[in-house]
Amino acid sequence: MSSLLIRGGRLIDPSRDLDRIGDLLIENRKIAATGDVSEQADETFDATGLIVAPGLIDLHVSLRDPGDEEDETTFSGTAAALAGGFTSIACMPDTSPAIDSRAAAEFAILQAARAGNCHVYPLGAVTKELKGEELAEIGQLVEGGAVGFTDAKNPIHSAEIMRRALEYTRMFGRPIFSFPEVTELIRTGVMHEGFYSTLLGLRGMPAEAESIRVGRDLALAKMTEGRLHLMAISTTDSVHQIRRAKDAGVRATCSVTPHHLTLDDSTLRSFDSAYKVSPPLRSPDHIESLIHGLKDGTIDAISSDHQPYSIEKKRNELDEAPFGISGLETVIPICIKSLIEPGHLSWLQLIDKLSTSPARILGLSKGTLQPGLAADVTLIDPAAEWTIDPEKFYSRGRNTPFTGWTVRGQTHTVLVGGEIRYQNGRVRSLSATP
């Protein structure tokens, strides 16, 4: 029976609307008390100046394991998650083979246990081999630990399949994570369609390719009363449609990435593939709508949409380079820069988007500092200034557009199940004797 007292930090718990200076007592790997704690503990940790929040939860992360270990492994990806302040991540099924069977889901969980970093909750495939043709064995996947279902970045082309998936997952109470994109409108595209794609001669991906699919998915969610989560939305019209659907009682949620809040399509002028992401970086008017959607609650959550790639894949011509950003390790400072510093969100709101809401979407008893629950806790130093250097990433993916940015806010300490897994820039599992 060990205990740890985290003293004098700024406790932020959106589940209780709590934002105050106080203490957090952990006993027996669980949160025992919050507020003014008078008990003594085996160990005391002074958290003055730090934010003490429920562990952050990322809704969709690609771990590339098995299949593309040169890009990422479960070990490197979960270490990156810790460094980014995440105690839990939901992993995409776009591995090779895909997570479309119970065994594959169990393997993802096993790999995470071997790594000993953070919790990994698999998202199972909606369709076999992510082909969009036949439903995967969703019931088996649930038994294997899948918390939601998605075909990752392969949009589900058939409305019929999408309808059945939303209906079928209802009986398990699990959401369908949809990546909204009409493929035929974006084929061979590399960036947002607009002025800059015209200027640069780069093939465009119109905003409508996303919003048309958002409209269809929302209509099907309404029809089936299934649970829909729209991943990484990026357009004004998506925000408008989701807002209307939520008002009408549709069971839909959505998330946005930090980079879509920070960078616009003019960055492609550099022809640097670090800016090639899917959905593409949009124009400033879309960014404004996304921020508005976060403020009024239309957008529930923020996810890194972590897409790690090895240098040799990413450092290529724009047509050849894959889409994506290695995002886990820069979420906190980029959110501070684009949301906290301009005054768009309070810390309470930001932690809600990064922890409490994702837990609710995934159906996890997490995202809160309520006593009695496992102590997944993230301590953030909001004032720490540092320069982003991908060479120091734990992720194998060094593909970030934020290289060289001087930012504020850094993960200080991460506890998973009451155990310190990350502190002072070091992932504990790496220093453990093998």
Partner: protein
């Protein structure tokens, strides 16, 4: 070294760039400098000088990752006229399929002691990527649907030769504006030198945002020809289109093909340019292509001179600054 005339020396010392990646980043003065330098080469060539010493001992690599006959030949000859040694690399299929990346391929060739790299590629920005990773000077010979600076320079040189100036002229670019690197480079070059530019073609092939580059848009060729001093008929880029942008070639030729009857609607002495390779009977009829106002073959001649000028200027920059070879 050959005997350089003083005017040429002064042209060369005014040039301050290591790479030519597009006309967007060049000033009107820099564009004029290239044209003047090319004109000097033309005058000397016409006096019977065929070989120049500018690039003796230098190595030019022609990297053509996309098929090309005309531009590759023109660059190859330009380098030879300047006494450079040349290395040609045009992968059949894709070297990427052998596992080597674009940058590695280029670095390998550079390691043979290359001073300048002429690159054509189907992806916009590929020359910019090389400029970032190589020590050699980089000359863009066409990057996807982005820019084709030497083509625009030769178009502008041809117009300037015939019309004396660019400022105040109305130039109409006809055809597939969306997929045309020639259009983009022409728009930058012509507007910087003070021309009025109209882009004309099927509405599916003219991006709406193009007006922000300072051009006017028309979908009616017959309506704009009476105001047009020079018409440039762009090739329909069937190979770059994601899907069908117009119903048939017949309909395209009907609406936008230049035949004699249409050509007569142009301003007195309207010049007819086409970057080629032309699809006879589509963008223009044979009678127009071979007619008195066509300057298509002048364009080809000037292409060689413009490329000589570019290679020579980039070389003068390297010699002056010592930047360049690995």
């Amino acid at each position: 070294m050959g005997v350089l005339m003083t005017t040429e020396t002064s042209i060369a010392t005014k040039w301050n760039r290591k790479h030519i990646l597009g006309l967007e980043e060049l000033s009107a003065e820099e564009i004029t400098l290239i044209l003047d330098h090319a004109t000097k080469f033309k005058q000397r060539t016409e006096r019977g000088e065929l070989k120049f010493d500018d690039l003796r001992g230098k190595v030019i690599a022609n990297l053509f990752f996309e098929p090309s006959t005309r531009t590759r030949t023109s660059f190859g000859l330009a380098a030879k006229r300047l006494s450079a040694d040349t290395v040609d690399f045009s992968p059949t299929g894709s070297s990427v399929s052998k596992g080597e990346t674009f940058i590695d391929t280029a670095k390998n060739i550079e390691a043979m002691g290359v001073d300048q790299v002429v690159v054509r590629h189907s992806t916009p920005g590929a020359p910019h990527l090389l400029a970032k990773h190589l020590k050699a000077g980089v000359l863009n010979a066409g990057d996807g649907t982005h820019e084709h600076p030497t083509q625009a320079l030769l178009d502008i040189m041809t117009i300037r030769e015939r019309k004396g100036t660019i400022a105040g002229l109305t130039v109409t670019l006809v055809g597939d504006i969306r997929h045309s690197r020639v259009a983009r480079s022409n728009i930058w070059g012509l507007t910087k030198l003070g021309a009025r530019v109209i882009v004309c073609g099927p509405s599916t092939l003219i991006p709406r945002e193009i007006t922000r580059l300072g051009v006017e848009v028309s979908y009616d060729l017959d309506a704009v020809l009476p105001e047009t001093d020079c018409v440039n008929l762009l090739r329909v880029q069937f190979e770059r289109q994601r899907s069908a942008f117009f119903p048939s070639i017949r309909e395209y030729a009907h609406l936008f093909g230049l035949n004699n009857e249409r050509a007569r609607k142009g301003k007195e002495g309207m010049l007819i340019l086409a970057p080629g390779p032309i699809n006879r009977g589509v963008e223009l009829t044979t009678e127009v292509a071979d007619g008195p106002h066509s300057v298509i073959l002048d364009q080809v001649t000037n292409g060689l001179l413009v490329r000589m000028a570019c290679l020579s200027l980039l070389n003068s920059y390297q010699e002056r600054t010592g930047e360049g070879r690995a």
